[in-house]
């Protein structure tokens, strides 16, 4: 009964996604460097970093939940990835719909928070507080964007949305959904934790935020989780608004395009403080979201 083809597909996609995730992180750093007219690290630099972290000879722990946090985060990201239709591989996506994936993409946040909280470091506590507040702030516009999309296409299933977009043209072409995409893009910026909204791991302020106590293999796991997360989120963005992809290359191009929008925004904007971010999210993106939602009802 075991569907070998599916298992192979899953393993293949997982490896591909992790690898491409690291490359995306590399692209991020490289693009930022190039914008600052620097040479910048090689594209595969994140892989080296993860290997170095994994290769650390000792690692410390603040208790069982401190170890369980990153593991749970990585597990959740992997699970989230399996439910997104990657190009022509419908992994498990026929069994879950938009809402399940949206929630699965948020579960890793809980894992990181669990680990960070149990580390007993004030910086990580402030990081957790900021992470949660950003998540709370972005939830409304994020929801409104998704609702607009669902109402337009009339279905929750990702595979059906991709098919419909294939037939009737990408979501972006629809004016209402264009506004939804703008809203989603702002929220996407916060989900990735890039510049204007990198309040969570504000390097200078609270030294790496939640990840301050993480070192060695825990940091390696978190980096892999971040890689898988970026791949999953960009794929999610592509599937929702850019009409999915028939093959991996097309998906890759769309993902990189999305990534570049985020990088360009990130390299310009200074960092928000957390209550400014909350006020901002509940002002412009929400208004746009409401407009998009009312247009599509």
């Amino acid at each position: 009964m075991i569907d070998w083809k599916l298992i192979l597909e899953v393993i293949g996609i997982l490896l591909y996604a992790t690898f491409m995730g690291f490359i995306f992180m590399g692209i991020e750093r490289k693009a930022m460097a190039r914008i600052q007219r620097r040479v910048g690290p090689p594209l595969y630099q994140p892989i080296i970093d993860t290997l170095k972290l994994l290769g650390k000879k000792e690692s410390i722990s603040h208790g069982f939940i401190y170890d369980f946090g990153p593991v749970f985060a990585l597990g959740a990201s992997i699970a989230a990835l399996l439910f997104i239709p990657i190009a022509n591989f419908q992994l498990f996506s026929s069994n879950a719909d938009l809402i399940v994936v949206a929630y699965l993409l948020e579960v890793p946040m809980l894992g990181i928070m669990l680990g960070a909280m149990s580390s007993g470091n004030p910086f990580s506590a402030v990081g957790v507080q900021r992470g949660l507040l950003t998540m709370v702030a972005m939830q409304l516009p994020y929801g409104l964007a998704l609702i607009a999309l669902i109402q337009h296409w009339g279905t929750f299933k990702l595979s059906e949305i991709v098919a419909l977009q294939g037939a009737q043209g990408w979501s972006v072409t629809v004016p209402a959904l264009l506004i939804a995409m703008i809203v989603f893009d702002i929220v996407f910026q916060a989900m990735l934790g890039l510049e204007p909204f990198d309040i969570i791991t504000a390097p200078a302020e609270i030294s790496m935020g939640p990840m301050v106590e993480y070192g060695g293999k825990h940091a390696a796991i978190l980096f892999t989780q971040h890689a898988v997360q970026i791949f999953a989120e960009t794929a999610f963005f592509a599937v929702l608004f850019l009409g999915g992809a028939s093959n991996l290359l097309e998906l890759l191009i769309k993902q990189i395009a999305v990534l570049f929008i985020a990088i360009f925004v990130a390299s310009i904007y200074p960092r928000f403080t957390i209550d400014q971010a909350a006020k901002f999210f509940w002002k412009w993106p929400t208004i746009l979201g409401i407009i998009a939602v009312l247009l599509t009802v």
């Binding site: 208790g63 992997i78 439910f83 399940v100 507080q129 409304l140 994020y142 279905t155 825990h218 409401i290």
Partner: protein, 613 residues
């Protein structure tokens, strides 16, 4: 059949006996039996209820009280008795006096009676009994909060009595069946005008809104939930708030067609349902925002409970069959995860004696089992996929968006985000971070409490992984294949959710991550003080965790809204009316015989004038 009589009145009887024989061992045993009997009988009656509802009539004081165990009432009664059983086990550990047992079990009878009764007099009688019993539980500990709770729920109850009177005057009947027929016929007759239907609807809405804790009337919830024996609050917020929600269903069943005929539709939704949906949405948002900013663990869960019941109101407000399915499922999931939360709070308060976040912390090592139960409850409330909380929330999302209620669905998104935030706040405040020195000798909760928690934790997992079981039964309630799919999959027209597959995916992910973790260097345990404070040496006295106003930035962001509070408004109103009463008394009864005789003369004048006209 007198099974219904046994189900209904064993808790009350057990309560009275427990109060009478107020000895350590005897009281607990009687109480447990009293709480276990309803669940046992309900399970025994399950096959009978599936084919034909079981009826029973009782004549008291010239009224005939009819009770019926149909599919819907069986569902609500089963949820209430499950939480009731858990409460009983909890009470064994936390309560020291027969007083608690008497009124806890009396409210248990009240709630079961409310769900089973088929006529308004029985409904009103048991509703009042339930309110009174829960009030007495709160009166023992805090007079102000209990009076606030009692006044609001009595205003609700009397609004309902007024509505019952009007219905009786118009339809001449008191039992649900005849009223339903009469109202359907009345649509063509038109004896009840539009204004009167709106009056009836508002009266019923206030009555059930108070009990369910809808926003303008939720003021009693934080005080009442936190000022009573915490294991009783599991039942109080788990089952008693369901009575309010059951009432909303009652409005649909009895007056649904009439309200539709009178009030028509608004943008394609039933107007009255739209109102309920918006009340639910506002409750979710307001209660969740308030929950996030609370400093006291009981207040946090009280507001969160009000918010979650807002979800159910919202789901019923959507009005589509899927909305009802989502709402009913959330009734079950809210009962189990909120009941579990309250039992966890009971364990914490029992062992540490503290209720504020600032005095607690780092209990995860000291109370591992309670922590595990708390984690299950956290996952379920936050709506993390493999848990029951997610399945019901997913159904509500589907219903709300399918029924083209976008802004209401937006409220759910914001609400669930906030739920995530305050649940993590609970985890951080109580379980992790630095442990205050006084909590060093905290032990694990006593066995009965642990048993109570497991009773409520298991359904969370079981219905999380196999939500089909519950939706199967709900389809039977709604008499139609509303939510398709087998045990592990929920299929609706527009979406699917395979709970088993999601769980297996999570397990696979965890396995992979575990492998990566095991590969690295062996991690050595490090004390809390060995933490990076920009190089400063750190000792035990340092305060390494933020436990007071954890979400201060959010409070600053919301500063504009937080100036207005319903609570202060009600307090001022109460004070105003009390001063008015006092002024009236001083003015009228001023002790002077002369003025009294003037009153007589004035009445004579009125009679004379009236006689002349």
């Amino acid at each position: 059949m007198n099974e219904i009589l046994i189900i209904l009145f064993t808790p009350l009887l057990a309560g009275v006996l427990a109060w009478a024989f107020d000895f350590r061992g005897v009281r607990e045993v009687i109480g447990l039996i009293g709480a276990a009997v309803p669940l046992a009988y309900l399970v025994k009656l399950y096959p009978a209820v599936i084919e034909k509802p079981v009826d029973y009539a009782l004549t008291v004081g010239g009224f005939t009280l009819q009770f019926q165990l149909g599919t819907m009432s069986w569902y609500f009664a089963a949820v209430a008795s499950l939480v009731g059983l858990a409460m009983a086990f909890g009470l064994v550990a936390t309560s020291r006096s027969g007083y608690d047992w008497l009124f806890a079990l009396m409210s248990f009878t009240g709630v079961l009676g409310v769900f089973l009764s088929q006529d308004f007099i029985g409904f009103f009688l048991l509703w009042e009994l339930m309110t009174f019993a829960s009030f007495m539980m709160v009166l023992k500990r805090n007079r102000h909060e209990s009076l606030k709770y009692f006044v609001l729920s009595v205003i609700g109850a009397y609004a309902m009595l007024l509505a019952i009177g009007i219905l009786y005057a118009r339809t001449g009947a008191l039992d649900f069946e005849t009223i339903r027929q009469a109202l359907i016929i009345d649509v063509s007759l038109g004896t009840i005008g539009k204004g009167e239907t709106i009056l009836l609807f508002t009266l019923f809405l206030t009555a059930f809104g108070v009990k369910a804790g809808a926003v303008p009337l939720h003021v009693w919830a934080p005080g009442a939930y936190s000022e009573t024996d915490q294991s009783y609050t599991a039942f109080f917020s788990g089952a008693l708030s369901k009575a309010g929600v059951y009432g909303i269903l009652l409005i649909y069943m009895l007056m649904g067609y009439k309200l539709y005929a009178e009030l028509g539709t608004f943008h394609g939704h039933l107007t009255f349902a739209y109102v309920i949906a918006w009340i639910g949405a506002i409750t979710v948002v307001v209660a969740s925002f308030l929950a996030v900013l609370q400093e006291d663990i009981r207040k946090l869960f009280a507001y969160s409970s009000v918010g979650q019941v807002g979800y159910i109101l919202l789901a019923f407000g959507v009005g589509s069959p899927l909305g009802f399915a989502g709402g009913l499922f959330h009734v079950l999931s809210h009962a189990i995860f909120k009941g579990l939360f309250w039992l966890v709070t009971a364990a914490i308060i029992l062992q540490t004696g503290r209720t504020r976040f600032r005095d607690m912390g780092g209990l995860a090592e000291k109370m591992p089992f309670t922590f595990a139960m708390g984690l299950i409850a956290v996952l379920s409330l936050a709506g993390i996929p493999p848990m029951a909380g997610f399945a019901s929330k997913w159904l509500i999302y589907e219903a709300a968006i399918q029924a083209h209620m976008p802004l209401v669905a937006g409220a759910i998104f914001l609400g669930s985000g906030l739920a995530f935030a305050y649940v993590v706040r609970f985890l951080y405040g109580v379980w992790f971070g630095q442990r205050p020195s006084e909590l060093e000798d905290v032990k694990e909760a006593p066995l009965p409490l642990l048993l109570a928690m497991t009773i409520l934790a298991i359904p969370n997992l079981v219905f999380g992984v196999a939500p089909g079981v519950v939706t199967g039964y709900i389809n039977r309630i709604l008499m139609g294949d509303v939510v398709g799919g087998d045990y592990y999959r929920l299929v609706t027209q527009t979406g699917t959710y395979n709970a088993l597959l999601v769980s297996t995916a999570l397990v696979i992910g965890l396995a992979i991550a575990g492998l990566v973790y095991l590969y690295g260097a062996k991690a050595r345990r490090v004390p809390v003080t060995d933490t990076y404070q920009s190089g400063n040496p750190v000792t035990e006295e340092f305060n390494l965790s933020i436990r007071r106003n954890f979400y201060r930035p959010l409070a600053e962001a919301l500063e504009f809204w937080l100036r207005y509070s319903w609570d202060r408004f009600y307090e001022r109103l109460a004070k105003l009316s009390e001063d008015f009463a006092d002024a009236l008394r001083q003015a009228f009864y001023n002790g002077n015989v002369q003025s009294y005789s003037w009153y007589l003369a004035i009445v004579l004048l009125i009679l004379a004038l009236w006689g002349v006209l």
